[in-house]
C-alpha cells in the first residue's frame, strides 16, 4: 500500500482529501504545518507528499526545499497543492523542488493520475539507484 503524506492546514480539506484517498486504497499520514511535514517525511518515509503551500510556521515552499535537501527524503516526489493560481507561484513551487503542481479545487481524477505517474517514476528512480 502506497503511503501518502498529506500536508494541509485547513481541517475540512485535510479531512475530505484524506478520506477520498483512503477510499482509493492509499495509506494517508497527515501534517498540519511545514515543520510537522518535515518531521513526518523523515519519520514516516512516505512514498509521495501532497504539499499545501500556504502553511503556518514553515510554508510549503520551504518545507519542500528542506525535504529535498535531506538525503533520507530527497527522493520522495512532492506535488504542490495550492489555491494560488498565479503562474509565478507555480514556478516558485517547482523551484523549491516540487515535482508537480495542482490548483485547488482539486480535480481528483487528474491528481491521482499525476500521483500514480510520479509513484511509478519514483520506483524506477529508486531501482536505478
Amino acid at each position: 500500500m502506497r503511503k501518502i503524506l498529506l500536508v494541509e492546514d485547513n481541517e475540512a480539506n485535510r479531512d475530505m482529501l484524506s478520506r477520498r484517498l483512503a477510499k482509493r486504497g492509499y495509506q494517508v499520514v497527515m501534517a498540519v504545518d511545514g515543520l510537522e511535514a518535515i518531521k513526518q517525511a523523515v519519520e514516516e518515509g512516505p512514498d509521495l507528499i501532497l504539499m499545501d503551500l500556504s502553511l503556518p510556521n514553515v510554508d510549503g515552499f520551504e518545507a519542500s526545499q528542506r525535504i529535498r535537501a535531506m538525503a533520507s527524503t530527497a527522493h520522495i516526489p512532492v506535488i504542490a497543492l495550492s489555491a494560488h493560481v498565479l503562474s509565478f507561484n507555480h514556478q516558485m513551487a517547482l523551484d523549491a523542488g516540487c515535482n508537480d503542481y495542482e490548483t485547488k479545487p482539486i480535480d481528483l481524477k487528474r491528481l491521482i493520475l499525476k500521483m500514480e505517474t510520479l509513484l511509478s517514476y519514483g520506483n524506477i528512480e529508486v531501482v536505478s539507484q
Binding site: 475540512a12 480539506n13 475530505m16 477510499k23 500556504s54 493560481v85 498565479l86 490548483t103 485547488k104
Partner: protein, 883 residues
C-alpha cells in the same frame, strides 16, 4: 611773413575781440536799460541794438578780408610771380599762356575756389588785368576801376574792400544753381609791395557776398518785417530785400531781374515824383539818425528805422522795421532783437578767434576758415532759432554779466538785481553746490563739462520757489577772457506732464497684482511694489538698504547670480526662473522671476516681475500624489482580488471535494436523486470557480502581472484546439461549426496561450447565444502598410445585440441584461478578457451586430509581435559585433 604784420594782426584781433565783448554788453545794456522805459524808447533801442551790431559785424568782417588779402599780397612767391607777369607783353594771349599765369593760379587756387571767393586778379598799376582765374578777362581794363577812388587808394598802399556791384562775368547763383548775369560781386584789394617798398601791382580777390556779407545782414532781419540792408549814393539797393516778392507783385521790380541792383530805395507814394526814403537820403548826405515815429519805406509800408553811412565800404546801412509790428508785439521783437545781437556777437568773436590762431600756411588758413565759418554759421543759426529763450551770460568765476528780459521774466529779478552777483542765486542749494564743483573743475582743467549739452535742472525763482528749466551752455571768448552764455527754457509744463505720467506709472506699479522690483548692480533693492512685499511678507519700507541676494535661499543664490551677472554687464533679459525666497516669517516661498535690464541716469538696473508660484506648485505636487495614490490603490485592489481568489478557492475546494465524495457514495448506494442534487452543488461550485478565475485574470492584467510569452506557433494547432471545443459545444444547442484557415496562414509569432484563450472565449460566446445556427471561424492574413496581420473572424447567426448593448459589450460584468445571464449563464467577463488580451498583444478588436441577425467579432493580431522583432534585431546587432 614778417613779425610786424603778425603783431599787427594780433593787435587787430585783440581789439576786435575787446570791441565785440564790450559790444555784447553794450547791446544788452542798451536794450535792457530801455526795458523799463517808454515804449518809444524801447523800440528805438531795439532797432539801435540791431543796427549797431550789424554795422560792427560788417566792419569787422571787412577788416578780416583786408587782413587776409594783405597776408597773401605780402607772400614772397606771389611777389616774384607778379614781377614775372609785369615783365610780359600786355596782350591777353601772351599773358594767359604764360608760365607765370599758371603758377599764380596754382598758388591762389585754394583761396579763389573756396566758398567765400570766386576769383582773383593781379592788376598792373595802369589798371590792366595781368592774371585772373578766368582767361576771358586777362589783358583788359579791370572792373575795379569803375569804382571811383578805390584803385587809386590801393595804389597808395591802403587795402580796400569794394562795395557790392553787378558782376562783369556770369556767376553761379547758388539759390537756383544757375549762372546769371549781374550777380552781386565784391573785391578785396591789397597792394603788392616791391623791394623798394613801392606798390608794383594790386591783388584782388572776388568776394562772394552771399556767403560772407549777406549772411551778416540777414541776421538783422528781426521779427516779421525787420531788415538791415546796404545801398549806394544813388539810393540803389546793394543787398537782398526780404520784400522782393512784394515789389515784384506791385510791379516795382521786374520779375526776371532778381538782382538787388534793380531796386531803387524810393518811398512808394501814390502821387507825385518818387523820392528816396528818409533813411536813404539822409544817410547819403552823411547824416546818421533814426526815426521811430514812422516814415514811408520802399515797400509800401510805414517803417521805423536807424541809418548811417559807412565810409569804409562806401555804402549806406539801414535797419528798418514796419511801424505796425514795432508797436504791436513788443515781447516778440524784444526776443528777436536779443537773438540777433547775441548771434552776431558770437559770430564775430569766433572770427576773431580764428584769426588769432592763424598759421604761416596761408592756404591752410583759408581752408580752415572755410570749415570754421561753415560750422559756426550752423551753430549760430541754431542759436537764433532758440532766441526766444532766456539768455544769461556769466564769467568764468560764476558772476552774472548779462541777464536778458526773458530771463528777468523767468526768474522774477530785475536786471540790476542780479548782474555782478554769483549765478548760484538762481539755483537751489544742491545744484549750487555742484555748480561750484564745475567752476573749480573748469578752472583747474579748462574743461567745461556742461558745454553743448542741454540738461534739465531745477532753478530758483526770486520768490524762492523752484521750477524746472532746460539749460544749454555755450562758451565764448579766448585766452583768459572766457564767458559762458546760457540759454534757458522754462519746462515746468513739460515737467508737470511728466510728473502726471510718473504718477500714473507709479499707480500702476503700486497697484499691480504682480510683484515688481528694481535692483541695482550691487544687488540692492532700489524699488519694490506692495505686491512683491506681500509675497515675502515684509513692508515696503523694510526693503531699504537690503540686498536681493540676501532674500534668496542659499541653495539658489548661485543660480540667480549666474542669471543676473551677464545682464548687468551686457543688458538683455532673463527668466522665467524659479527660485525660493526666504520670508521674514515662515516657510520659503517659491517665485517665478522674469526681468530685463534698463538704464536709469547712466546706471544699469534690473527690473523683475515676481510671481508667487508656491500655491501652483503645491497643486502640482498634490496632483502627482493623487495619481500615485490612485495607482497604488489600483495595485492594492488587484492584490486584494488575488488574495480573495485564494481565500475563496480554499473552501470551494472542500465544497466540491465533499460533494464529489458524497456523490460517489450516493452512486454506490444507488440513490439517484441525491446524485443529481449533489451534481447541482458541484455545478454551482464550478460556476463560482469559473467566476473567481476570470476575476483573477482581470486583476492580474490590471496589476500588470500579465507577461506575454512570445514564440512562433502553428495556426493549424490552434485550429485543432478550437475544433475539439466545438465538438462539445456543438451538441449543446445544435449548432454547426465551420473553421477555415487560409493557405498562406501557417505560423504566427505571439503568445499562443492568449490567442487560444481569445478564440475559446469568442467561440464559446458565439455558441452561447446561438441556437440551431451556424458559427464560422475564418483565419486569414492581411497586410496593411508595413505590418502583416492575422485576422480571426468569428461570425454567428445568433440573437445579436442592440446598439446600446454593443456599446457596453466589453465592459466587465455586463451581459446584455440580467435575464440573459439567467438564460445563458456565464460570468460576463469573457469578452472583457478578450478585449484586454487583444490590447496586450497590440491587436485590434472589432464587433458588428444587429438584433436577430447575429454577431461578428474580428480580431486582428500582428503576425509577428513587435517585441519579438525588436528582440531579434538586438540579437542580430550583438551577433554582428561578435563577428
Amino acid at each position: 611773413m614778417d613779425t610786424a604784420s603778425e603783431k599787427a594782426n594780433r593787435l587787430l584781433v585783440g581789439l576786435v575781440v575787446f570791441v565785440l565783448v564790450g559790444f555784447l554788453l553794450l547791446g544788452g545794456h542798451l536794450f535792457l536799460s530801455s526795458y523799463q522805459q517808454s515804449q518809444n524808447d524801447e523800440v528805438q533801442s531795439s532797432i539801435q541794438a540791431v543796427f549797431q551790431t550789424v554795422r560792427k559785424a560788417v566792419l569787422t568782417w571787412r577788416e578780416q578780408e583786408i587782413s587776409n588779402a594783405t597776408l597773401w599780397a605780402g607772400q614772397v612767391g606771389l611777389v616774384n610771380i607778379t614781377r614775372d607777369l609785369l615783365a610780359l607783353e600786355r596782350s591777353a594771349d601772351v599773358l594767359s599762356r604764360s608760365d607765370a599765369q599758371q603758377r599764380i593760379r596754382n598758388l591762389l587756387k585754394p583761396v579763389y575756389e573756396s566758398n567765400f571767393y570766386n576769383g582773383f586778379f593781379i592788376i598792373s598799376p595802369d589798371g590792366t588785368s595781368l592774371a585772373s582765374s578766368r582767361d576771358s578777362n586777362i589783358g583788359s581794363r579791370n572792373l575795379i576801376l569803375d569804382l571811383p577812388g578805390v584803385f587809386e587808394t590801393v595804389l597808395r598802399g591802403v587795402p580796400q574792400v569794394t562795395r557790392p556791384q553787378p558782376s562783369d562775368v556770369l556767376l553761379l547763383d547758388t539759390a537756383v544753381m544757375r549762372y546769371r548775369e549781374s550777380m552781386p560781386t565784391m573785391f578785396v584789394a591789397a597792394p603788392i609791395i616791391g623791394q623798394e617798398n613801392e606798390v608794383i601791382a594790386v591783388l584782388t580777390f572776388r568776394i562772394r557776398p552771399e556767403t560772407t556779407l549777406y549772411p551778416i545782414l540777414e541776421q538783422g532781419r528781426i521779427g516779421e518785417s525787420g531788415e538791415t540792408y546796404l545801398f549806394d549814393e544813388q539810393g540803389t539797393l546793394l543787398s537782398k530785400s526780404r520784400f522782393a516778392p512784394v515789389l515784384k507783385h506791385k510791379g516795382v521790380l521786374d520779375r526776371d531781374r532778381l538782382s538787388p541792383f534793380h531796386v531803387k530805395l524810393e518811398q512808394q507814394a501814390s502821387v507825385g515824383e518818387p523820392q528816396l526814403t528818409r533813411a536813404v537820403s539822409e544817410a547819403i548826405h552823411g547824416h546818421g539818425g533814426f526815426d521811430i515815429r514812422g516814415y514811408p519805406g520802399y515797400h509800401f509800408q510805414k517803417v521805423v528805422g536807424v541809418w548811417n553811412w559807412l565810409d569804409q565800404l562806401g555804402v549806406g546801412l539801414v535797419t528798418e522795421l514796419n511801424l505796425s509790428e514795432a508797436y504791436s508785439n513788443l515781447n516778440q521783437i524784444r526776443t528777436a532783437v536779443w537773438g540777433a545781437v547775441a548771434t552776431l556777437s558770437l559770430m564775430l568773436v569766433s572770427l576773431g578767434l580764428f584769426f588769432a590762431n592763424h598759421s604761416a600756411q596761408l592756404s591752410r588758413l583759408v581752408m580752415d576758415r572755410t570749415y570754421e565759418l561753415e560750422k559756426q554759421r550752423a551753430h549760430f543759426q541754431a542759436i537764433v532759432d532758440g532766441a526766444f529763450d532766456a539768455i544769461v551770460t556769466i564769467t568764468d568765476d560764476g558772476l552774472i554779466q548779462s541777464f536778458n528780459p526773458a530771463a528777468c521774466k523767468l526768474f522774477g529779478y530785475e536786471q540790476q538785481d542780479v548782474v555782478g552777483r554769483n549765478v548760484r542765486l538762481l539755483m537751489p542749494d544742491n545744484i549750487a553746490h555742484a555748480h561750484d564743483g564745475y567752476i573749480t573743475h573748469y578752472r583747474e582743467t579748462g574743461q567745461a563739462r556742461l558745454i553743448g549739452k542741454a540738461r534739465e535742472l531745477e532753478a530758483r525763482h526770486k520768490d524762492g520757489s523752484l521750477f524746472w528749466i532746460e539749460l544749454s551752455l555755450t562758451e565764448v571768448g579766448e585766452d583768459d577772457q572766457h564767458r559762458f552764455v546760457g540759454f534757458i527754457r522754462d519746462i515746468s509744463d513739460r515737467k508737470q506732464l511728466q510728473k502726471e505720467d510718473d504718477a500714473y506709472n507709479r499707480t500702476l506699479f503700486e497697484q499691480s497684482p504682480v510683484g515688481l522690483m528694481l535692483i541695482s548692480a550691487d544687488g540692492q533693492f532700489s524699488d519694490v511694489n506692495p505686491a512683491f512685499a506681500r509675497i515675502v511678507d515684509r513692508t515696503v519700507e523694510a526693503f531699504e538698504n537690503s540686498s536681493f541676494l540676501d532674500l534668496v535661499i542659499p541653495d539658489h543664490s548661485e543660480i540667480l547670480q549666474q542669471c543676473l551677472e551677464p545682464i548687468f554687464k551686457n543688458g538683455g533679459s532673463y527668466g522665467p526662473l524659479e527660485i525660493e525666497l526666504q520670508c521674514d516669517h515662515g516657510e520659503p516661498v517659491l517665485v517665478r522671476l522674469v526681468g530685463r535690464a534698463l538704464m536709469r541716469q547712466g546706471e544699469r538696473f534690473i527690473w523683475s516681475a515676481v510671481e508667487d508660484v508656491s500655491e501652483q506648485r503645491a497643486y502640482e505636487v498634490a496632483l502627482t500624489e493623487a495619481r500615485d495614490h490612485a495607482e497604488q490603490a489600483s495595485r492594492a485592489k488587484s492584490q486584494f482580488l488575488a488574495n480573495m481568489s485564494h481565500e475563496l478557492r480554499t473552501p470551494l475546494n472542500a465544497v466540491i471535494g465533499y460533494a464529489e465524495m458524497l456523490q460517489e457514495d450516493a452512486g454506490d448506494q444507488g440513490s439517484v436523486e441525491v446524485v443529481s442534487d449533489l451534481q447541482r452543488i458541484i455545478d454551482s461550485a464550478r460556476h463560482l470557480l469559473e467566476l473567481i478565475n476570470e476575476i483573477l485574470d482581470i486583476s492580474k492584467i490590471e496589476a500588470g502581472r500579465q507577461e506575454l510569452l512570445i514564440e512562433p506557433f502553428g495556426l493549424a494547432g490552434l485550429v485543432d484546439t478550437i475544433h475539439a471545443l466545438t465538438v462539445t459545444l456543438g451538441s449543446e444547442k445544435n449548432n454547426r461549426f465551420k473553421i477555415t484557415l487560409a493557405d498562406d496562414a501557417r505560423e504566427m509569432i505571439g503568445d499562443e496561450q492568449r490567442v487560444r484563450q481569445i478564440l475559446i472565449n469568442l467561440v464559446s460566446n458565439a455558441a452561447k447565444f446561438t441556437e440551431n445556427g451556424e458559427i464560422v471561424l475564418e483565419i486569414s492574413l492581411y497586410r496593411r502598410d508595413v505590418t502583416e496581420w492575422v485576422v480571426f473572424e468569428i461570425t454567428d447567426t445568433g440573437i445579436g445585440m442592440t446598439r446600446e448593448q454593443l456599446a457596453r459589450v466589453f465592459d466587465p460584468f455586463t451581459q446584455a441584461d440580467e435575464s440573459t445571464t439567467r438564460k445563458y449563464g456565464g460570468t460576463g467577463l469573457g469578452l472583457t478578457i478578450v478585449k484586454q488580451y487583444v490590447d496586450l498583444m497590440d491587436g485590434e478588436l472589432d464587433v458588428h451586430s444587429e438584433p436577430g441577425n447575429g454577431t461578428s467579432f474580428t480580431v486582428s493580431l500582428p503576425l509577428v509581435h513587435p517585441s519579438y522583432r525588436s528582440a531579434k534585431a538586438s540579437e542580430g546587432e550583438h551577433g554582428d559585433r561578435v563577428a
